[in-house]
Symmetry: none
Subunit: 163 residues, 4 copies
């Protein structure tokens, strides 16, 4: 009898915690918040500064709408649009832009998909942003360095919101 009561209590505790998480954390669960987006952008900027790379950094929300952006001094002007398009592309198809690019080459299964959605960017530098539960809540796009640098900086930004 006592054991049964304990089991019920534990079950109810889980329920209460779940409910609490629901009410307090709903926005974070499904969509990136402004503070998370800002955190991602600043973490990426810091990573870029450490390696001496000048980049543009864009974060979009779950609806692929621009959420935060920063352009480092003296970075390429052409990278403003590229970074935003990388972030959008990563969220449009829930994939790292470099992975998508492997499929869009001549002879690839989705050749020239870049011409849809007002212009996509399918080389590395854009990656989805996931929350702690692994759900995609937005995306980050980085442009200005080499594609390896851009991808590495974007990764730092995306992961920063988990800390």
């Amino acid at each position: 009898m006592r054991k049964k009561q304990t089991t019920i209590k534990r079950f109810l505790l889980v329920l209460i915690i779940t409910s609490f998480n629901f009410y307090s954390g709903q926005a974070q669960t499904n969509d990136i918040t402004d503070n998370e987006a800002l955190k991602a952008v600043l973490a990426a900027k810091e990573a870029a500064e450490k390696t001496g790379v000048l980049v543009n950094i864009a974060v979009v929300d779950a609806g692929a709408n621009l959420k935060s952006f920063i352009r480092m001094d003296d970075s390429f002007l052409g990278s403003i649009d590229v970074s935003i398009k990388k972030a959008k592309t990563a969220r449009y198809f829930n994939i790292a832009t470099g992975e998508l690019g492997k499929l869009t080459q001549p002879g690839g299964i989705i050749y020239n998909i870049e011409l849809s959605n007002g212009g996509l960017v399918t080389f590395p530098g854009g990656i989805p942003i996931k929350n702690k539960q692994g759900k995609i809540i937005g995306a980050i796009g980085v442009s200005g360095g080499t594609i390896e640098q851009d991808h590495a900086i974007a990764t730092v930004g995306a992961k920063s919101i988990l800390n």
Copy 2:
């Protein structure tokens, strides 16, 4: 004499039925109707659900104008535009998009035609919709799965209006 009368009667009956079909069903003959477009979209959606694929489905009419559309929950945001462009492309050139894609590769006879018409999509997933007489009356575009899945789902949608 009696036989002749019967023949005439049958001939007239066929004429009446034909005329009736012509007058009542004219729209169906040359252009997809709203109910047919809805039927195609719903049949495609059902086929996608059966195979567990999340897609966007667009149907355009004989004039390549959007006639009906549905986006399944959690399907790719980027597939809205891709599905509509697949449907338009299929009707613009009265061909399955995958067939067109064979001709648009580097060295192909219509290389980079994707840049025309505000952006075409030339990989599989878009196909013309024909009526019972084989006349093209619209087109359907599906995006969200693999190109094989998209094409198969589009085919189900296109054929559904024949039943």
Copy 3:
């Protein structure tokens, strides 16, 4: 003592129901589902048919992305884009398009805002769609009739998801 237990039981019951609603109904709470979007479009179409008006009907989701669409036979071709822009405008600013239009006239406080966001439509026919809790989860846009008819038909569509 018995009373206290009853109170606790009731409290827990509410918790359980809340949790259940959370798990079963999360998508509906924040964003319109495909079935709701379809329901809204069909309810609006039925209302249009009853009054003999030929319209285009578009529904966008919480992210202002196209979710469902239908064009009635013989309705204006120009209304495809107008209906979609009405739906997007209503969600972009969480307001009935006709209300926004009162502020965008010459001398109005947001004159010519129509030129932003790739083109807005600010006359009646677009309204936000709310769930039972009153939260905006998408929007509907109707075009093809008079502005009064469009607005009335859009209202029928928006309210249909509450039943």
Copy 4:
């Protein structure tokens, strides 16, 4: 003699300080830096939060290119583009957007100039950002509140870089 030496020393000191300021602060003089743009955006966000207004905030540099951006949670989706266009408009013509709007009304001397430059926004909320010397080095655009709130928040952002 001693007085003359002192005068020379003072003259040299001024020269050194001036040179130092020139070399270390050149970027600030002609163009807003990334840190200043970030500071302006955050100051505007803080001002918006204090007054309970949900806004989008954009800063462009001296070249009218996007430099930093933040969208507050639950602010209007349509305000992303409006805030960016307000910032660009303010820098395109070195004027507060509301002042420009007085000239663009029907009968105004630059009627419908909103149609140029890919779309301008000419109601309040966009203002030039000046450095300590009064030189325009960028602009800020705010959208989401009333036009008075947007203008007030933009002003806080623009002035924050002077501290």
